[in-house]
Symmetry: C2
Subunit: 187 residues, 2 copies
């Protein structure tokens, strides 16, 4: 039996807003195939009847592309929920704060999570850190996440790959197991 | 009146264990004066009668220098709590999970936090991310924190200064205001 047979697949914030130009103002995203990796995981989870949670960001920031009522708020079509799938709306970078996600998972007897989505170093990383602190067994599918270039606090520009790799290094083994989506699909 | 007059000073995990050799296995820490910066903030907070919370890590990992019952579990003397000061014990990287920290702060009417301690990219960063999601107004005193060198997930060795600067870049403006301890002391 797959090590992930009882795990919930969590897809974080993969809405059209992530393609807004301002996210890439310091340079392009990494993992251009991340949406396809997530779609492949969704197909496996759907076929096996495993639990799926789509996390949607409902920004309260007036200038955010993630604010409800705009096209950016819509899920990207390749990873959009099917009718009847669970959608959890959040307003912060943590899917467990101000939501019923923890209660839903506990009620369903879910102890293990496979996390995907955006951005690696923001809502994904914050949610992984807290999922671990709450005692969930967390796997992060690293090629099913992505982020953007940014300067570090000392002003050195870091590419999306560098930001992603530092975020994963903080998370791996301390909060979760970082693996490829292929490893999850093959297990 | 100081912008920090009603803020609680939070000192995270500054115990002797942080000096254990294994933390520096990839290279030395940054901010060698961080303990003195925290001590200066503690002196101001004590003199002004502002709230202080010492967060203590009680590791449940058998091999951790932070496990209770060892010398490493003791607070570093230069930042140790005085009699009567609040100590909150945690077992995860988040000071708000499995503790009464949020209830204590809400009961005391505290909305603003000045956060210091170790490690920048672990318990400090996790606690800042969640404090922000919980709605606290968070300031991070960047020279009153430190971390260690580590390889990123792509295998590139990053110095402690690089790890620290990337962590601060993730946090600044998105979860908190990153400032110097001198700026807090002078306000």
């Amino acid at each position: 039996m797959s090590a992930y047979a009882a795990a919930a697949l969590i897809v974080i914030d993969v809405q059209k807003a992530i393609d807004a130009a301002y996210h890439a103002k310091h340079g392009p995203r990494n993992n251009p195939d991340a949406e396809q990796k997530i779609a492949a995981l969704l197909a496996l989870w759907r076929g096996a009847g495993r639990p799926i949670v789509h996390v949607r960001h409902d920004s309260t920031t007036p200038t955010s592309a993630y604010r409800p009522g705009q096209e950016g708020h819509e899920f990207k079509p390749e990873v959009a929920p099917l009718a009847g799938e669970t959608v959890v709306a959040k307003t912060t970078n943590c899917a467990f704060i101000g939501t019923d996600l923890e209660r839903r998972l506990r009620t369903a007897g879910v102890h293990a999570l496979v996390i995907t989505g955006v951005a690696t170093n923001h809502s994904v990383e914050t949610t992984v850190r807290i999922a671990a602190a709450l005692g969930f067994d967390v796997t992060l599918a690293e090629d099913a996440c992505f982020t953007f270039a940014q300067p570090d606090f000392a002003g050195r520009l870091r590419t999306a790959e560098e930001v992603h790799a530092m975020s994963l290094a903080n998370l791996d083994k301390e909060y979760c197991a970082v693996v490829s989506s292929a490893a999850v699909l093959a297990d």
